[in-house]
Symmetry: C2
Subunit: 253 residues, 2 copies
């Protein structure tokens, strides 16, 4: 049985989960796309997998998957060259306490980050840098936005994260558990060969406006990545990556 | 006089320069978009500036500019929210010798980089990290592609670059002038708190296939950014940024 209609309930559900953060929150589910990421969740009993007709003609993988006509499959995905595989997957929930329960390591705190590609890249680089988790304000881009999910390259399954109702309260908890909060700020102290504390949380703000005053006031220190030339700021995901790796490389034995 | 027709010679020229690397090379010109970047070149006698009708209604800036109807302006730019300002600007040419003529510093060598956003980000971060220049293979994405230009945020005017007919020959010149070539490679030696040579060139490969064997064989060393978790690789612009800044931070006094 091949699904060929846009009004099919499966298709309506996939589209809602693709397009609407509200639907994702309501269902507690999200969409992953592509062979690699779908393989990672294929053992999850609660995942529902879909493949395109031409994928099925060429491969027996994901034998339990529903089959969708190529035309409809192309319509529901916004990737330029869809691989013909996607899945509905239950969202993961972490508590702040779980994330903070560690001897040492690095956290990233995001204040109103808006660009899906930036968030995805921070999660991907964050896994590679071995960070303990990402704490983000509620008004940041939805972590389950398909563009975020795609650009994590799978890291979304592995990097713990916590979306706060109140970022200031969360920062106070983070500090109480021994993390030093370093705010990336244009008025901050220029970092050089910095010896970061073993427990460091880097605070990164919105792409245009940076950290809000309210939030950056809570930091233990304001820091700035040195910039030559006439560059006014670095891309948020680049800044986060440089900081996470400067922590990783400086604390490696 | 407001330009209202798509068949107007100005519009045809702008469109060709937006869309075709061939036209850009033939004319030795390219397009910059937005108020900020146009301001930077507004004193260039050879630049031709255009504004949209509604920009002109709200501002006297760029008084010499040609005015284009909003409808046509929107059609020729691929930015989501065009600011109503663009310019045709002569390309800059640097020689490899000019770039290599320095006492110390950092270079980036790009082998077949394809993503415009990655190249733009490397140029932007490169300016901030104070690199001496970017050397790239001919089959990399066109540096004057409007998406590259836009994501440099102006750094394209300030970071010297050289596009090589033959990357291997260029690498040999780079080495002869005292730069140590470090190839970012999955089989490389994991970097930690590395003391980079004062003259270091980082070699970064294509987004999917990395550096070609031919090119990475020419490196003085193969290096790898350490990666935890299941991450197979970092985004090319993130990897370049981490390396450029690890050089900058380690050689800062």
């Amino acid at each position: 049985m091949v699904i060929t209609s846009e009004t099919n309930d499966h298709i309506k559900r996939i589209k809602a989960l693709m397009e609407k953060g509200k639907s994702r929150r309501k269902e507690g589910a999200f969409i992953v796309e592509g062979v690699k990421m779908t393989r990672e969740i294929s053992s999850d009993k609660n995942a529902v997998i879909y493949v395109s007709e031409s994928f099925r003609e060429n491969s027996d993988e994901f034998s339990e998957a529903f089959v969708i006509s190529d035309k409809i499959f192309k319509k529901i995905t916004d990737t330029v060259t869809p691989q013909g595989v996607l899945a509905i997957v239950p969202q993961k929930k972490y508590t702040l306490d779980e994330i903070l329960d560690c001897e040492k390591g690095c956290l990233v705190i995001l204040d109103r980050l808006q660009d899906p590609g930036n968030l995805g890249t921070i999660i991907r680089t964050g896994e590679a840098a071995g960070i303990k988790g990402i704490i983000m304000s509620k008004d940041s881009v939805d972590i389950y936005n398909p563009k975020v999910v795609r650009s994590t390259m799978g890291a979304i399954f592995r990097v713990p994260f916590y979306v706060c109702d109140n970022l200031e309260d969360a920062i106070s908890d983070i500090k109480s558990s021994g993390f030093k909060c370093m705010a990336a700020h244009l008025d901050g102290q220029v970092i050089s060969k910095m010896d970061w504390p073993e427990k460091t949380a880097f605070m990164i703000g919105n792409e245009s406006s940076g950290l809000s005053d309210k939030v950056s006031c809570l930091a233990d220190e304001r820091i700035k990545i040195p910039m030559d030339g006439q560059v006014e700021s670095l891309n948020a995901s680049v800044a986060a990556s440089i900081l996470m790796y400067s922590h990783k490389l400086n604390t490696m034995v």
